[in-house]
Amino acid sequence: MKLTRFLLPALLALFTVTNPARAGEELNLFGWSEYIPQGVLDGFTKETGIKVNFETYASNEELLSKLVAGGGSYDLIQPSDYTAEVMIRQKLLSPLDLAQLPNLKNLAPEFRHLDHDPDGRYTVPYMSGTVGIVVNTERVKTPIKGYRDVFTPAFKDRIVVLADPRELVTWAMFTEKLPINHVTPESLARVRPVVAEWVKLIKVFDSDSPKTALLNGDVDVGVVWSGEAAILWNENRKFQYILPAEGVPQFVDVLAIPATAQNKAAAHQLINYLLRPDVSRQISAAFPYTNPNAEARKLLTPEQLANPASYPPGHPKLTTFHDIGKAAADIDRLVTDLKSAR
Amino acid sequence: MATMVHLRGVTKRFGTFDAVRDVSLEVGAGEFLTLLGPSGCGKTTLLRLMAGFEAPTVGTVEIGGQDVTRLPPYRRPVNQVFQSYALFPHLTVAENVGFGLRMQRVAAAEGQARVREALALVSLDGLDARRPHQLSGGQRQRVALARALVCRPKVLLLDEPLSALDAKLRRAMQLELKRLQRQLGITFVFVTHDQEEALTMSDRIAIVHEGRIEQLGTAHEIYHRPATRFAADFVGQANLLEARVLLQDEAQVRVSVTGGLELTVPRAAWPAGAMKALIAMRPEKVHVSRLANPAAAPAAAATNLFEARIEEEIFQGATDQLVIVTATGTRLSVVVANESAYGEIFHAGDHVSCALHADDLVVVPAE
């Protein structure tokens, strides 16, 4: 009796995630952890009656491997731009029916035609962000403008960076004025000594929560996601966000429908819902990245808009990543080698 | 005889329990002394006090004239044979026997020779390379013995070393231990609860009861002249009878015992002035013969003669145990040699005549 009371819901849950037969009323969403407020999804269910089964991942690689390995059937996913680019090329995404997405008009024009999907046929921007420098201004008094100011012996063992080999190598390429999306053995050989120097200075590599080391006082500067920087700024104004002078990596996370989706209609409905200004505003409140939704931005408080990590002043030059194929393995090997040489 | 082990006023208290109460004991050099008593009587604690595993709460322990009261076991000139043998399972027979020598840093060559010698002494030649688990119980026992003897202790302590062996092997080992002790001239302190073992091997026996030494004496003294009711009861079999004085003169005391039988006891054996005492009658001291065969009547010197009826007969191999009841109703257990091939045969229901020498009666003062 007791057993069935526990087992039955568990079995049902399993059934509903994997069985597409009930797709009329359910939607399987596969998104980033810490990126979509549960309240937003609840609101969607309340309005449409469509139940959202929400699974999360922590990296584009996890998304890709789950999707191509066929582990689950998803109706809506949330890849980053350069991953979406590969997925489009590999025909893993289903073209969107733009007629079902009237709220597309709310997007700012600069987010309408991005490099990875020039016609906007496959993807809809969800949130955007940058990678930049966070400085604890109570500890650091010298002016910081770019990567070269961060990676100096003065900050030895006072630096946190993203544990992402591609990012690290890209920053070095910016300082060497190399094209970041054209990775060749020659360009890697050029940046190798730069990265080697940097690795010796870094104290922490952390992609999941680089803010922790900064908050704990274990480091004074960091090169981190703008969202992390925005949270730090909200926490304490001593954490200043600076866009590196040599070049700023920008990422746009998009919504897309996999080619294998069972409930494309519901997926379109959810995309359109997420594009609504009042809904998008809730997302910005919870996760202060750069909101590409121009109408939603109008609803934000002046304080939210003043967060330099979310909305950097001026019009900085941003660069997006493109897929570099197997060169990613070379970057991984390079960074592993330099790290283990310490 | 020089004193080898000397306990003076030793008390050992565990919490509120006195395991040993004010015991003083001297063991002579080259003596085989047995501590005999039931389990829990304190005999093992006495041994552990000598070995150094326990320190006395009160009193001192001397070994070979040296006060060792505060010395740890590894600084005492004694070695012990453990009840469980306590052989090191990770070492071979030779390594086990050589362990003590290694600890004493005896030179390797000498050590090897002594190990060989010790193994030969206990007839274990050729088993050096075996592990303890590859040996029989008797062999393990010998290894334990060799391991202790090879150290040439002043005193060898043996804690019920034979209790795990079967009856036949035990008897053989008793004789062997006795032989070894005579041959080596080492002082043995032997702990057992088996009175037969104690009687067979010991020069002297100490009866231990409730933390005290109840009686100390030779096997003969202990058996024939038990000093207390406990000693009489624990060592050998005895009919214990409450005795009350009926008549007395210079030479004899006439008493009535439990059940109404009247017996004569030598005046010298009776506690002076006492009206009551306890009489211990060994079953084999009662001479039984058939009424129908007066020619087989016992020696005339026997002072106590009475008749009885056999109630029960228990065959015990070499002997027959008979339960007899006298005319007045005194019930006694007696033992007769089983000579069935050519002698008398007793059956339940037979009427017999009994003779008992007055000097064979043991009088224990009433408590």
Binding site: T212, G217 | Y74, A86, P89, M103
Partner: protein
């Protein structure tokens, strides 16, 4: 033989009883290992899909000096962790094992209680202690306001502290098991034969508890070699260990075949360690 059908029945039942265990083994041990081995000979395509061709390339890459160096360092960290666990765990295990019966279970319970909390939470607790503005330095500054304190967080020392903390119970428990089995009479016998406390320890107690030490070493060393969460959280992922490299292949570099090859070689090392320790144990342990 007449009794043959009678004998077959229990055998059939025995197999039936074993079925869940066999199914478990096949499903969660044999099958994943087989998949790992198959993958290790494959290649990857652009998005990281496994392409089923036969290639030794992944194994060639495993023996690249980079990974060998990382491997050696992982073994070094795990070895240091194991040694510290033995040194710190043995006295604890010995005291619990020789404690009075009614105390033993309470002490063991104390050992287990922290394990009821998630491992990650306990690791974060260590971060709270070791971080620069953390409990340890706070305490030091309370006692000596001028002291600079320790800069422990994100250092190899922090990694070893984390590893020792995580694996100490796995060292203590098997040693406790063999200490508890240790016959007190053997210790007395050794004392009696002239061995002082140190000699008793080295000649009797250590050899007789060696099976426990061997089992503990296995339980600590093998997982410590492959640990990646602690190096990430407490070491700042600065110095990659083999566990991080493997994790990276699966979750970041999208190179499952190479990760599988690393894993397969790693498993080979485990099997070898296990085999060696088993041999040592068989030699030391008394089967009686």
């Amino acid at each position: 033989m007449k009794s043959a059908p009678d004998r077959r029945t229990p055998r059939w039942r025995a197999w039936l009883l074993l079925t869940p265990m066999i199914a478990w083994l096949v499903l969660f041990v044999v099958a994943p290992t087989a998949i790992l081995l198959v993958y290790s000979f494959c290649e990857r395509d652009e998005v990281g899909r496994v392409v089923f061709t036969f290639s030794l390339e992944n194994y060639r890459r495993v023996f690249d000096p980079i990974y060998l160096r990382i491997f050696a360092r992982s073994v070094g960290y795990a070895g240091l962790t194991t040694v510290i666990c033995i040194l710190a765990g043995y006295p604890v295990a010995y005291c619990i094992g020789r404690a009075r019966e009614e105390w033993r279970h309470r002490l063991l319970l104390l050992l287990m209680v922290p394990c009821w909390t998630s491992f990650l939470i306990r690791t974060y607790a260590w971060i709270t202690i070791l971080k620069e503005e953390g409990l340890l330095n706070g305490l030091i500054r309370l006692v000596a306001p001028t002291a600079t304190g320790f800069d422990l967080m994100y250092t190899p020392t922090a990694v070893v502290i984390g590893l020792v903390y995580a694996y100490l119970p796995f060292m203590i428990l098997p040693i406790y098991g063999s200490v508890e089995k240790l016959d007190g009479a053997l210790i007395e016998a050794a004392h009696d034969l002239g061995a002082g406390p140190l000699r008793v320890f080295s000649s009797v107690i250590i050899p007789l508890t060696l099976p426990g030490i061997a089992a503990g070493t296995l339980l600590v060393f093998v997982p410590a070699v492959g640990m990646f969460a602690i190096t990430d959280l407490m070491g700042g992922a600065r110095v990659p260990l083999i566990g991080n490299v493997i994790q990276n292949q699966f979750l970041v570099a999208r190179d499952w075949p190479f990760g599988a090859a690393l894993g397969a070689v790693f498993m080979g090392l485990f099997a070898l360690t296990y085999w060696i320790l088993l041999r040592l144990g068989a030699r030391e342990e008394d089967p009686a």
